[in-house]
Symmetry: C2
Subunit: 250 residues, 2 copies
Amino acid sequence: MNEQDFLAAYDPRDYPAVAVTVDVVALTIREGALHLLLVRRAEPPYAGHWALPGGFVRPDEDLAAAARRELAEETGLGGERLRRVHLEQLASYGAPDRDPRMRIVSVAHLAFAPDLPDATAGSDADEAAWLPVTALSSRQLAFDHGRIIDDGLERARSKLEYTPLATRFLDPEFTVTELREVYETVWGHPLHAGNFHRKVLSVPGFVESTGASTERGGARGGPRAKLYRAGDARLLHPALLRPAREETVR
Amino acid sequence: MNEQDFLAAYDPRDYPAVAVTVDVVALTIREGALHLLLVRRAEPPYAGHWALPGGFVRPDEDLAAAARRELAEETGLGGERLRRVHLEQLASYGAPDRDPRMRIVSVAHLAFAPDLPDATAGSDADEAAWLPVTALSSRQLAFDHGRIIDDGLERARSKLEYTPLATRFLDPEFTVTELREVYETVWGHPLHAGNFHRKVLSVPGFVESTGASTERGGARGGPRAKLYRAGDARLLHPALLRPAREETVR
DNA sequence: CGAGTTCTTCTCGAATTGAGAGTAATGCCG
DNA sequence: CGGCATTACTCTCAATTCGAGAAGAACTCG
């Protein structure tokens, strides 16, 4: 049976209820570590467990709008600050038993944000916090959110390779070193500073110079760094490839 | 308001009805051109327009299972042949007005298949056919399916770069030339045969030799080609990058 | 058999990458 | 204020990869 016949033959409200929610894997970098926005569940199931911020899609709301609204509610963000957060669809999760109460299909989204003020729980009584991703075991997470987070992290690592989205973790003006630290944090290993510098400046449209420099050198010395802002490229050509993990030798 | 509170406070059936469907962008290569599986709609809205095969997700069915079922219904495929078709989730589409009858969120999937027998319409009365992707204008397509197809094509082009999925367009044993023709068809431009050959054989786990060769040379001459099968790599390291489109010069 | 086609390998210069080192600007500490 | 550690940025050089062309061998067709 296909969609159109089905709709002709059935009143939709007779059909087994499916709910559609959005969940957001929101990433930021704090103190050199990748952090993730989570809310603590107050009610069963999974009371006391951490969960992704999310909720129902409203009747006249686009999926992306629902995700951005959920993000705004949990971060207390609005206006220009919220608009600068990168938000993209990640994937949908719809295993029949993923929520014990009813059939829920969740459209997960992925967000990249610069360092933000501490999270405040939404209008409800939940606790919300940015937690380091390394501090999470799947045991402590509600539903299939551990899996969603893993998928989000892998997507984030991959997106840094071929898009300029690393800049979304930073303020509008940033140094090449700050940009490199984003890559090192998300990819989880150090990069060669000189080669990274050469590469970033050689990829067309990745960054553009502001002409300005930082006011001070680093905390422990060193020259002032030049400031850049994000360029207008949507894709990096050629890409910044992460070093091959240990070859699956065959 | 978030998910858990909402569920505690509301009977799901009171909530505005949302239906979840799957749609499938199924691609194959016929006569050197990329083809797409479509069904012709018999009923309004969009009667007479072409649409992606798809339908409702059943109550106890996973999203991927629903997509594979829809693909099976429209292609008449089953068993081993069906299992060899690559199927992955593409994205979800849920604009409030994408279907004029009610709120429908569709989880689109992307399929790569070797050349298959002609499509047969499903149990319903629709016409189903493999059509060349170049023959489609958005005007002739139902709903937002033109957009979904565009996203699927771009995903397909991109997936050929860093995964070995091009082999899924071919039979289990294939020649390097056949593999190159897949790339040329999906990417839409010719590749240097010698360099492609060198590259494919140098990427670990992409293809492995069967030891055998084709029975005959090409139709117009040439030596017999060696036969390969897909290797066990899930990702290509290093990737096969498509030539940069005209540089967005700045 | 001859001509044309195609698979496969080779060559060579250009471009990119990885690794290390060098230079100059800066903050910190005595 | 001077010396030193630190850091931004540049440079060098060898290794690798890539693009383009060509050569050689194996084959089909007429």
